[in-house]
Each structure stands twice: as structure tokens, then as C-alpha cells.
Symmetry: C2
Subunit: 337 residues, 2 copies
């Protein structure tokens, strides 16, 4: 099971039985619009606060994922979820609605793969027949909580990133039809001393590279063993840094197969998203919406998703702390050769 120091290799790989994705208007205006299950034209989702809108995103994705698996809530023994809001209230309120056993997790934007790795371990070890991994983020809740009151309309530097409004959920089972979770590499905290919360990509890139190096060191695989390696939300600044770090550390990634969800989810040239997408939902909706649809269509067979997280709080930043970062990698395979 434990391979090397920080990688799990699932002897009986659990199956992603179903997924569901929900997004807001900016994501629906992007290049992946047709890959999402539910699209909202309004950031409020008919709620009276952005926080309640974020919760609704997560409630909708989990409900649809359970339906898509042909299951009911009573079939689910575990809900592994988290989000960016203080005390992960979106996940908790969604857990209240689901009324199933709940493990709250926090990995900032790495939560998508933290939850998928854990749900896979739980199912693989027989600790649940079915588990849900899910996360959500909302552009306005994040702006309000981490940066400035949204009413200020404050300007941002081009290194800033644009938080995805959306939610992605996956139902994991021990057997059945669907792509399989074959490996997971759990990241360490990497902190290069960067203190600029408007340049998360630069802060997170070294964590992504650290986890990718660990994955290949632990497994003995080569980057070419995957059809695609995709980071979570480095966006244009972090993506460039990651590519430089691969060269520097002699990680032989065929860079035509290396992508970043923060650059896939938006048309960075055309949309006003600064360096690209971020937020817990970024890697979740791109993976569960776009990439697994490509896998189903036979365009991808072996995928490594490396979700990145900047684990700061507004308070730690205000107290002069640098930004600790982490990345968790999950390998998803179609089973086709």
C-alpha cells in the first residue's frame, strides 16, 4: 500500500462511479462550458448571501453525483469534503443536508485531491462501500474573506488569480464501471518564503513540483507513463515557474502533456481573470467535468492530477507570515491500455 515515503498504491483500485460539476457564469463563459452538468447564470443562485450560494453549489453537486451513480444517500457511508471558508462551513452545511458520516478536511485548493485520496483510501480499505469526495468555492466569498470587501471593487495585479465559482463531487465505490484511482501521493508543506497573497501561483509551484518528484521517486514511474499531468491552479505565473523547476530538477516531463486547471477553465486571454483560475473548485470541476469526460471518450487513459493549495489565512498574512503551500497528487486511469 505505502510505496516509498509518501505514495499510496491501491492494490484494488477504487472506482469513480460518477461525478457531478456545478459552475457559475464566468466558468460557463469559458472554453469548458459544455463539460459541466449544472450552469448558473447568476452568482447568487437565488440565495440571500454568497456563502449560502456556495453551499448550494456543493449541495447540488453532491446530490447529482449520488443520482448519477444510481444510488441514494442511504448508500453513502462517508462524505469527505472541505472548502475555503472559515471552519469549512460550506462542507459542513452540505453534510447536514446529506445526513451521512462526515470527515471535514482542509487543504485550501488542494482539497479536491485531498478528499479524493482519502475517499479512495476509505473505500479501498473497506471502511465504506461508497464515499463522496467533494469541494466547492465561490468567487465572491473568497474575495470577501481573503482579500477586500467586494464592494470596494479594488484592482488587482496581473499575478492575481480568479477564484472559480463551482463545485465538483465524485462518488467512489469498491467495484463497478468507471475510471479507477490507482495511486495517491500526499504532499508535504513547502514554503519558499513568498508573502504576496496576490501571487499564489508562484508560492504554490514549488509544492506541486515537490509532490510530482515524490510521486515518481516513490513509484519508479516516469512522467511519460501518464498521458497527461495537470496541476490544480498555478495559473500562468505558477505554471511557468513549475516548468522551469522541472527543468532545474531534471524532471523529464514532456511539457506538451503538462497542463494546469487554472489555465484550462478560463480563456485567460479573453476573460478578465488575471493569471487564471484558482479556488477549491478549479481542479475539481476541470477534473470531474472536463478531464474525466475526455477519459470516457478515449482521449486519455492515464491521468495525474496534482491539486495545489496555498494554506494561508488573512491573519497569518497580516502577522507577516509567508505562505505555506501543499500539493496532493492522484492518479486516475481508464483501465484501457
Amino acid at each position: 500500500m505505502l510505496t516509498g515515503h509518501q505514495t499510496w498504491t491501491f492494490a484494488q483500485p477504487p472506482v469513480i462511479l460518477s461525478t457531478a460539476t456545478v459552475v457559475g457564469p464566468d466558468e460557463a463563459a469559458g472554453p469548458l462550458a459544455r463539460d459541466f452538468d449544472i450552469v448558473h447564470g447568476d452568482l447568487m443562485l437565488g440565495q440571500d448571501s454568497w456563502e449560502k450560494a456556495e453551499r448550494k453549489l456543493l449541495e447540488e453537486s453532491t446530490k447529482l453525483a449520488v443520482e448519477n451513480a444510481g444510488l441514494t444517500n442511504g448508500d453513502i457511508q462517508m462524505f469527505v469534503a472541505g472548502d475555503l471558508l472559515n471552519q469549512i462551513i460550506s462542507a459542513t452545511f452540505a453534510a447536514r443536508t446529506l445526513a451521512v458520516p462526515y470527515l471535514g478536511v482542509f487543504g485550501a485548493c488542494s482539497t479536491s485531491m485531498e478528499s479524493l485520496a482519502l475517499a479512495s483510501l476509505i473505500v479501498s480499505s473497506g471502511a465504506a462501500k461508497h464515499a463522496i469526495a467533494a469541494t466547492a468555492s465561490h468567487n465572491c466569498t473568497v474575495e470577501k474573506q481573503f482579500r477586500y470587501p467586494t464592494e470596494y471593487g479594488s484592482q488587482k495585479p496581473p499575478t492575481a488569480q480568479y477564484t472559480v465559482t463551482g463545485s465538483g463531487a465524485a462518488v467512489i465505490g469498491a467495484s463497478g464501471e468507471g475510471p479507477r484511482v490507482t495511486r495517491a501521493t500526499i504532499g508535504r508543506v513547502v514554503d519558499m518564503g513568498i508573502k504576496d497573497p496576490f501571487n499564489m501561483g508562484a508560492a504554490m509551484a514549488p509544492a506541486a513540483v515537490d509532490t510530482i518528484q515524490a510521486h515518481f521517486r516513490d513509484t519508479g514511474l516516469e512522467p511519460g507513463d501518464y498521458d497527461m499531468i495537470v496541476t490544480g491552479d498555478l495559473a500562468s505565473v505558477g505554471y511557468s515557474i513549475a516548468r522551469e523547476l522541472f527543468d532545474k530538477h531534471n524532471v523529464r516531463i514532456d511539457q506538451t502533456n503538462y497542463y494546469d486547471c487554472g489555465l484550462l477553465v478560463y480563456d485567460v486571454e479573453r476573460q478578465s481573470v488575471q493569471a487564471g483560475g484558482s479556488g477549491c473548485a478549479c481542479s475539481a470541476v476541470v477534473t470531474y467535468g472536463h478531464l474525466l469526460k475526455r477519459m470516457k471518450a478515449g482521449e486519455l487513459n492515464r491521468l495525474l492530477v496534482v491539486a495545489t493549495g496555498a494554506l494561508l489565512s488573512p491573519l497569518s498574512y497580516q502577522q507577516g507570515e509567508s505562505i505555506p503551500c501543499i500539493a496532493h497528487a492522484v492518479a486516475i486511469e481508464s483501465g484501457r491500455s
Copy 2:
């Protein structure tokens, strides 16, 4: 492995190889003072903010737990930790110091047993040789974040609880000497509509009872199969409610064997702690300090720790939401009959 709907039964129970506890001055003035490994006379711990003091509590407990196990950080493949601060920054900064693979979790004051259950599953399934479960809380960081700026010196109703300043950590291994984690019941969110953040005990008691009922329903055990059942931090108000709920739901607990960590950690009559203790560290320091020492001394053989968590944020409370609660139960056994 999965027993009933929400309980894990470990076929090869992982071992608590070592623990370490660190507390502040109020806990050192309480009845369990001699059970803690490190006692600080000053709430600042020589740091320049309370948040940094909280981080230091966690760094000290994890460092000492690793030493007590006769290991080094390089032997640890997983750090499972969380705390009450926004974005669980205490756990994250401690993870940066440890430099080992890290899974951040959030279960408010249930984090002690959420992290122990997960670390046990990870070790039991072979996903790590050694894992640390840890959590911390600090009275002043919590007052500042969840209630009023501490400088106000605002008064509190007698139903309020007093957050424990401290940290508890446990090193889990697949084999060796020590008490064993035999079962874990993962809780569901229970929300009875209570909205008063100065009465957490009343909000959390139904969640504790729900998880305890699930534990006995899933396992077929009887309350008398444990020498002691202890809830996390219901304190005097929640403890009384839990006792009433046991009677109401016909849970046949011998109430002379039922305790609450929030009432054990302080002398509630003599110390100014309102209804009793709370905070992530409450159940952690009582379990890892006091109760496991009693188990080692032969006074306890079968213990069920039911850590309770109130999963609110200041924002959700201000938006008129009720307080969702959860409880996770972990069974720890000496192996003696």
C-alpha cells in the same frame, strides 16, 4: 472493516506508540496538572502573538510525541491534524516544521478523534508505517476569533465554556507496545436548531448521543463493554442533556462510568471556567494525558472517547444559522482482559 453503517472495526488494531501533551496555566491549575508533559505558566509561550503561541503548543506536542516513540521525523509518513483557527493555520505551520506528508482536517473540537480515527485507518491499511494525530487550541485565539476581541473583557453567561490552552499528539504504529485503537465511529452532522454560541454544550449533546447510539447499533456491543465512556467537551450543561438523552433513547449507560473531558480538565466549582472546558485540546489532553496514563496504570482497559465538535463559524452565526454539530467516537483498549 466497515461494521454497520458508520463504524470501522480494525482487524489488526493499530497501536498508540506514544503521546505527548502540552498545556497552559489554567490547565496546570486544574485537577489533572500532573498528567501533562509540558506545562506553560504563561499564555504567550514567549511568542509575540497568541496565534504563534498556539502553533508552538502543537509543535511541542508533536516533537515530544515523536521523541517519546523513539522515532525521528523521518520515520513519520503522515501528519493528520487540525485546529480551530481559520484555515487551520496552527496545524499547517506545525506541518511545515515537521516536514512530513500532511492531511489537514477540520472537525472543530471533534478534531482530536477525527485525526486519531484517520491516522489509525491510514496505519491499519498500510498507507503509513507511522502517523501522528494531533490538535491544539488556545483560549485567547478562540476568544478573539469566535467571540469578542479579548481586550473587551466581556462577560459570559454560565452556559459558556472555557477553551483549553493546550495540545495533544499521538504517534500511531502498526505494531509495538501500547494501547490499541480497536474501533472508530464517524459521526453525522446533527443540528437541533440551537443558535446560541454561548451554549455549545446544549448544541453538541445530541450529536454525541447520536454517535454513541450508532456505535452500539453498529457493533452490537453494550455500554457495559467499556470501562469508561467519555465525551469531548459538553461541560456541565451538555453533560446533563446527554444523560437525559441516554434515558430518553433507552441507551443503557451505567452513568457512573460516563464522564466528560470538559468537566475533568478543570475544577469547575473552583476555577472561573463557566460550564467547563472546551476546544480541540480539551479531549486531546485529557485522553492522551490523563486517560491513557490511567490505562497504563491498569485502572482502565476499554475506553470509548466521543469527541464533540460545534461546526459553526462567526459568519454563519451572524447570518442567522443554527449550529451544526458532530461527534466522532474512538475505542482504545489496553489489550488486557
